[in-house]
């Protein structure tokens, strides 16, 4: 008898879930050990984090505020993944959406009830325009969208910095590096949490339905899973790729619009708070599922909020980033290990 480790093609759901939970636990444990080594008291920090996140409605509201952009950027990345594309540019599309929505809000007069939908559309359009060139380059010249979407992030970031400190700088002189306060706010429905959150959740549900319950969604799933099979079945791969990538960009643009109109109220450099990059982690945690994005974003929002609490306790931002990285790292290992099982086999050979 010999013991062999075998790989199974798809992991059992229970095993996968256990692996996930263990991964997150191990990541937190590792982080705790490192913090303890630097002289901090991890138990005290953990209880502090838990009480300030879940112990008060303020903590939960903060989480809710972080949740909105994370759901949408996560959804943006997950949507692109459906057709096998990696949108690393949700960050840039977020900026472009925030920028376009701000322009509409600042320079077009109108009642809020009309202006908010208009800003929503502007945000979506901004994100769409920002992914347009990478999309066409991928569709017609097979240029890797991984690189093009990533590089455009820097362009968008600097563009917004420049606009917010230059042409669009608050004329009243009250703010140093932001635009004037937007005249239209996304209304709040619970404490400081605005209606962007339900909008984001509804969008996730709609996108999930789009992929599960439409012919178009079916074609995208086939094409994303195996372009050869799509060609075999006579499905138009290029057309689907273009629409899906543009949709991905538009969703990230909406995230930017909701952030500027619901949470920050002024366009400023650094407004994205890395939400675009965190969206990649959310999508990976969600394994590309549009509904799973909500759960992935919730986990990420709690981690981010914990990070803010930790910072008040003297833990640096990089430590917090390292903890999120650890979680993703361990999760990836856990997901892979969930595919293995240990089996006893007869010894081979003569």
């Amino acid at each position: 008898m010999a013991i062999r480790i075998q790989r199974v093609p798809s992991a059992q759901p229970a095993v996968a879930l256990t692996a996930r939970a263990l991964a997150i636990l191990l990541a937190l444990l590792t982080a705790g050990l490192v913090l303890a080594a630097t002289g901090a008291d991890p138990i005290r920090l953990a209880s502090r984090v838990l009480s300030s996140t879940f112990g008060s409605s303020f903590g939960l509201e903060d989480v809710g505020l972080l949740l909105t952009p994370l759901i949408l950027t996560g959804l943006s990345v997950a949507v692109a993944q459906k057709i096998g594309a990696w949108n690393i540019g949700a960050e840039g599309q977020f900026y472009a959406g925030a920028f376009a929505a701000t322009g509409v809000a600042l320079f077009i007069p109108g009642p809020t009830i009309l202006m908010l939908p208009l800003m929503f559309l502007a945000g979506a359009l901004g994100g769409l325009v920002w992914i347009l060139v990478p999309t066409l380059a991928r569709a017609y010249a097979d240029v890797s969208e991984l690189i093009t979407t990533l590089l455009l992030n820097f362009v968008a970031t600097l563009l917004v910095y420049w606009m917010a400190t230059g042409p669009w700088l608050d004329p009243s002189g009250h703010a140093l590096a932001t635009t004037a306060r937007l005249p239209h706010d996304v209304p709040e429905f619970w404490g400081i949490v605005h209606w962007g959150l339900p909008v984001a959740v509804i969008m996730s549900v709609l996108v999930a339905a789009l992929f599960s319950f439409t012919r178009w969604g079916y074609e995208v799933r086939i094409a994303g899973s195996n372009p050869q099979a799509a060609r075999y079945a006579g499905m138009p791969f290029r057309g689907r790729l273009i629409v899906v990538m543009l949709l991905s960009g538009a969703i990230a643009g909406v995230a930017g619009m909701l952030e500027v109109a619901g949470t920050v109220h002024r366009l400023q450099g650094g407004i994205s708070n890395n939400f675009g990059y965190l969206g990649i982690m959310v999508a990976v945690l969600a394994r590309g599922s549009a509904l799973g994005v909500i759960a992935g974003a919730a986990l990420m929002a709690v981690i981010l909020n914990s990070g803010i609490v930790l910072q008040t306790q003297g833990i640096t931002v990089s430590t917090v980033l390292a903890i999120t990285g650890l979680i993703l790292f361990y999760t990836a290992i856990g997901d892979e290990l969930a595919h293995y099982r240990i089996a006893r086999t007869e010894a081979a050979g003569a």
């Binding site: 798809s10 195996n226 099979a229 060609r231 075999y232 006579g234 499905m235 081979a348």
Partner: protein, 529 residues
């Protein structure tokens, strides 16, 4: 194509020298499949030994056992007279056995020198790239294989990449070189270059095991030939004095049992006078732009099975793609149901009623990571009941998937599970049944029995007969001559992208087809180069 440049000196074996490789009673079983059973093989120093057999005959499995990738379920590996057990390829390489796979295992972004030295214990710990390249050049000239040490792999032709792969194996002091269908990716000139290098290699007392299913090159290059069939050894014969005809006979088996599948029942549809699908001087290019289909003219009539014989890689794949809209024809006309389909898309062909069982089902006929349901409805997702308007109905899709799985007698525990979890045979049956549903006019079946066991093959053949009797035109591509003779009304033989001739099955035999498979035109006495 004997060339004078081939080194003629032979390696002299001292009396009593044991075979360099000896396999005794090797068996390997996979779930539901006997890959190898009772296989014996002796390879002497200085010998090029060909391993000949159809696809699925067990050639690659046997070599994977010899090179430590698989462990045999029974049998013994004897190297230089000593019994050995290889639990990994590393141990096999240490014993001097190296393999060059069909798909190269090189790092494309690295240079030749870097690839040669990658993962090698003799690579110096600290070395400049210039020194690395000098080392590579020295090794290459010592082994008489011309490579460009500083070139990146991605810039090399396939032939050059193969040479790097061979050099990589030889630098590890391999004495036995196993090559898995090495010429499949080479041009004729590159193949000649390779043969010269192999002859030189064995002249130094080494051995080559050469896996192939091409009769002509096996006769040209090897000293002895072992023929495998259905996982068992048929015979080992000397190449000298052997003919392609004999080899073809050995490959497909001496006894060809002609069953009555060509006979039609009283209710069978008659063969239509006009072809339902017709190709007129159709040419097509491969993915690399080379002409792989040349001036092919064929007609498939409704109610008949037209077999396509030929060694794999002689244009059959391109043929099946051209007549299903997956590949554009470079020239010529394709007429389907009286209409010009030369520029039609895959969707147009499917809509007309052309079903297609593709050659590599997992890569082009299925989306492996998606569910069995998703994969079952790929041909009917845009029609009711699976779709209504723009909507896709998962429940209706699941119901259709169940119907198809039942018809294919595939037991599916969970229709939501990825289709790649099904066995190869079940995938094949599922695809076949799925395609039969839409094949109201024509079915293109490329190697439908590949990877199936005998019982499943019979079922598959019955499927095709069923369609024929229902008045569907079937184009049946296969390498198994026995199958083709049992089933087809007529047989077209392909060689190097051309049709060598179309013969009436009732008035032909395996020898005539074998000669055409080797490049002889129907009715011609002359062998084409």
């Amino acid at each position: 194509m004997q060339t004078d440049a081939m080194p003629q000196q032979r390696y002299e074996i001292a009396p009593g020298t044991p075979p360099i490789v000896q396999l005794r009673g090797i068996a390997k079983y996979f779930p539901g499949v006997v890959a190898n059973q009772d296989v014996d093989l002796d390879v002497m120093p200085g010998e090029i030994h060909a391993l000949l057999g159809e696809n699925g005959a067990g050639k690659s499995t046997l070599m994977n056992i010899l090179t430590g990738i698989y462990q045999p379920d029974a049998g013994e590996i004897i190297i230089d007279g000593y019994s050995r057990v290889f639990s990994s390829p590393v141990e096999a390489i240490a014993a001097g056995i190296g393999m060059v796979h069909q798909h190269f295992k090189l790092v494309k972004a690295f240079t030749v020198a870097e690839n040669i030295h990658l993962g090698w214990s003799e690579t110096p710990k600290r070395i400049s790239s210039a020194a690395l390249e000098a080392r590579t050049a020295a090794l290459a000239s010592a082994l008489n294989l011309a490579v460009r040490p500083a070139a990146r792999i991605s810039d090399l032709s396939t032939g050059e990449q193969q040479r790097v792969e061979i050099l990589r194996v030889l630098t590890r002091n391999a004495r036995v070189l196993v090559l898995d269908e090495p010429t499949a990716v080479l041009t004729p000139a590159e193949a000649r270059e390779l043969f010269r290098a192999l002859k030189e290699f064995v002249a130094r007392g080494n051995a080559v095991i050469f896996i192939s299913h091409k009769l002509d090159e096996v006769l040209e290059i090897s000293d002895r030939i072992t023929v495998l069939r259905g996982g068992r050894k048929v015979e080992t014969i000397a190449a000298a004095g052997c003919t392609e005809k004999e080899l073809a006979k050995l490959m497909v088996g001496r006894e060809i049992v002609l069953s009555d599948m060509r006979k039609r029942g009283p209710n069978a549809a008659p063969v239509s006078p006009q072809p339902v699908l017709q190709l007129e001087k159709v040419s097509a290019r491969g993915d690399l732009g080379n002409l792989l289909l040349e001036d092919v003219s064929l007609g498939v009539h409704a109610g008949e099975i037209l077999g396509v014989a030929g060694v794999a890689g002689n244009g059959q794949k391109e043929l099946s793609q051209v007549i299903t809209g997956m590949r554009a024809a470079a020239s010529g006309r394709i007429i389907v149901g009286g209409k010009d389909f030369s520029a039609a898309s895959a969707a147009d062909f499917a809509a007309f009623g052309v079903g297609h069982i593709p050659e590599d089902r997992l890569h082009s006929g299925l989306a492996p990571a998606l569910s069995i349901t998703d994969n079952s409805v790929i041909r009917e997702y845009d029609k009711p009941p699976v779709s209504s308007g723009p909507f896709y109905r998962p429940r209706a899709a699941a119901a259709l998937a169940r119907t198809i799985a039942e018809a294919a007698s595939v037991a599916v525990p969970d229709f939501g599970m990825p289709v790649r979890n099904l066995s190869g045979g079940n995938q094949q049956r599922l695809v076949a049944r799925r395609e039969m549903r839409i094949a109201s006019k024509v079915l293109i079946a490329a190697y439908p029995s590949r990877g199936l066991d005998v019982g499943a093959i019979n079922t598959m053949m019955r499927y095709l007969v069923e369609l024929r009797d229902a008045g569907v035109g079937v184009l049946f591509i296969s390498e198994e001559l026995e199958e083709l003779l049992n089933l087809s009304d007529r047989i077209a033989v392909m060689f190097h992208g051309k049709v060598m001739g179309v013969v009436d099955t009732a008035r032909t035999d395996i020898e005539e087809i074998g000669l055409m498979m080797g490049g002889q035109r129907h009715g011609a006495a002359r062998v084409e180069a």
